[in-house]
């Protein structure tokens, strides 16, 4: 057998190259549920990685704290000032909420189903050491109720979606890996909502790009971008980031908005996996005249 391969080295080489390309071609598709050997390897590594990652993160956090100690005084002053405003704001918010509820009651309008969701906490146990896949591995899997395509957030905002699920671990595709057709419906908050799709990533400046925004829409740096909840498993209202620049696109027909992600994508420790209570049907339902004014309008 080995004699055969020594004699026909070129043949063996070519055959293995072809085999390689075939395997790559088969596995290149998005596979939300991997095969059992893959699951086994991923799960067993996730055990060890979880043990290693947490203490390391604690040590890194300790050094970070020392660095922060120097700027603590200034920051404290700043925060106190903001805190005072916050009291006012939360009082206003409470008022508005009550008012909103009353008005809804008067109109007989239902709560929007789009922004309803449950969260599950998970911890990050590893991160891909490479450049082209921005993958993070978390320690919850299919047995914990995680399903493919669920949104993943940190308290600061949206960071990505579940790409594939093993029994006790799953892979999260970060929002920066967006070029692969991982498009997210988003809203620019302003006087009126501007709908668009976040579909690009600028790795040089670490910015997300929202393309094909109508020319006449008024957007300016500083506006917040949230998920729109239209289609897919991402609920409405998850914060994505803030616009930092607006530019014409190449054909001068639409605008591109550059968005700075709100969540810190470099340092991720704890995440929440979002399960949407209402998954929109894939078929478009026929509008029902009796449900006019239903809450799906934003």
């Amino acid at each position: 057998m080995s004699n055969f391969f020594v004699k026909r080295r070129l043949l063996a080489l070519l055959l293995s190259l072809i085999l390689l390309v075939i395997i790559m071609g088969i596995t290149v598709k998005d596979r939300p549920f991997p095969t059992w050997p893959e699951r086994f390897i991923r799960d067993s590594f996730s055990l060890v990685q979880g043990v290693v990652y947490k203490p390391a993160y604690a040590v890194a956090g300790f050094f970070e704290n020392i660095k922060h100690m120097y700027s603590a005084f200034e920051e404290n002053k700043d925060l106190k000032q903001k805190m005072e405003q916050y009291t006012q704001m939360s009082a206003d918010l409470q008022e508005l909420k009550i008012e909103n509820e009353q008005l809804r009651d008067m109109l007989d309008a239902k709560e929007s189903k789009l922004s309803d969701y449950k969260v599950r906490a998970a911890e990050v146990i590893a991160r891909s050491p490479e450049r082209w896949n921005h993958t993070v591995i978390i320690d919850r899997g299919e047995k914990d109720g995680i399903r493919p395509n669920m949104a993943v957030i940190t308290p600061k905002g949206y960071i990505g979606r579940i790409q594939s699920v093993s029994n006790y671990s799953s892979q999260v595709e970060l929002v920066t890996d967006i070029e692969r057709g991982n498009h997210i419906g988003a809203i620019i908050q302003g006087k009126e909502h501007i709908f668009g799709v976040v579909e690009g990533y600028d790795p040089k400046n670490n910015l997300l790009i929202m393309r094909k925004i109508p020319m006449q829409s008024e957007i300016s740096p500083g506006q917040l971008v949230i998920t729109s909840g239209l289609g897919g498993t991402v609920p409405k209202g998850l914060v994505m980031g803030e616009i930092v620049a607006v530019r014409m696109d190449d054909q001068f027909l639409t605008k591109d908005a550059y968005i700075k992600p709100n969540a810190d994508l470099q340092k991720i420790e704890k995440v929440f996996v979002v399960e949407r209570s209402f998954v929109p049907p894939t078929e478009i339902p026929v509008p029902n005249p009796t449900e006019k004014g239903g809450g799906t309008r934003s």
Partner: protein
């Protein structure tokens, strides 16, 4: 026994690449330059220089396969590059004496070429987006791994010399 130690070292480095090192170089991940840990590749290059390129080829294949399984989208991309680079490194070495400087240069070039192969393999399947390959962005990666080589050169070369009878030049 010795092979067991080597396998443990490789498994440990594999886990470190994804966890601890990611945390400590997190500051620079987002910047324009990339400091990617390829410490497993460095160790496999050592293996190919000291224990023969055939063995290194198969070890690299398995190591790359694990990277593909755990982090990658495509199975085979890193398995290919991790297997081919150490093999070629040893092939280039048939005519030289082993010394520190040459090993450092080999690792530098090997890691750099590894990144190029990785890009080409993923680009073949359209996984890199519209981004072109940044030629200067990977020099920091090569430098980082060369520094790692400088640190582990002494202990690892002593360990590997006890494993094989010196160096096997193309005798596999």
């Amino acid at each position: 026994m010795k092979w067991g130690i080597l396998a443990t070292i490789l498994a440990g480095v594999f886990i470190l690449e994804g966890t601890v090192i990611q945390i400590f170089i997190a500051e620079v991940i987002g910047s324009a330059f990339h400091f990617l840990p390829r410490f497993g590749l460095v160790i496999i290059i050592f293996i190919s220089l000291y224990l023969g390129r055939r063995k290194a080829f198969f070890i690299g294949l398995v190591y790359g396969l694990f990277i593909d399984l755990l982090y990658g989208d495509v199975i085979g991309a890193y398995a290919f590059s991790m297997a081919v680079i150490p093999y070629l490194c040893a092939l280039a070495y048939q005519y030289f004496q082993l010394n520190v400087l040459l090993v450092l240069i080999t690792v530098f070039i090997g890691v750099y070429v590894h990144e190029i192969i990785g890009y080409v393999m993923l680009d073949l399947f359209g996984l890199t987006g519209s981004e072109p390959f940044g030629w200067t962005e990977y020099i920091p990666t090569a430098i980082l791994n060369t520094l790692f080589t400088a640190i582990i050169y002494r202990p690892l070369s002593i360990f590997l010399e006890t494993m094989g009878e010196g160096r096997i030049d193309g005798a596999v």
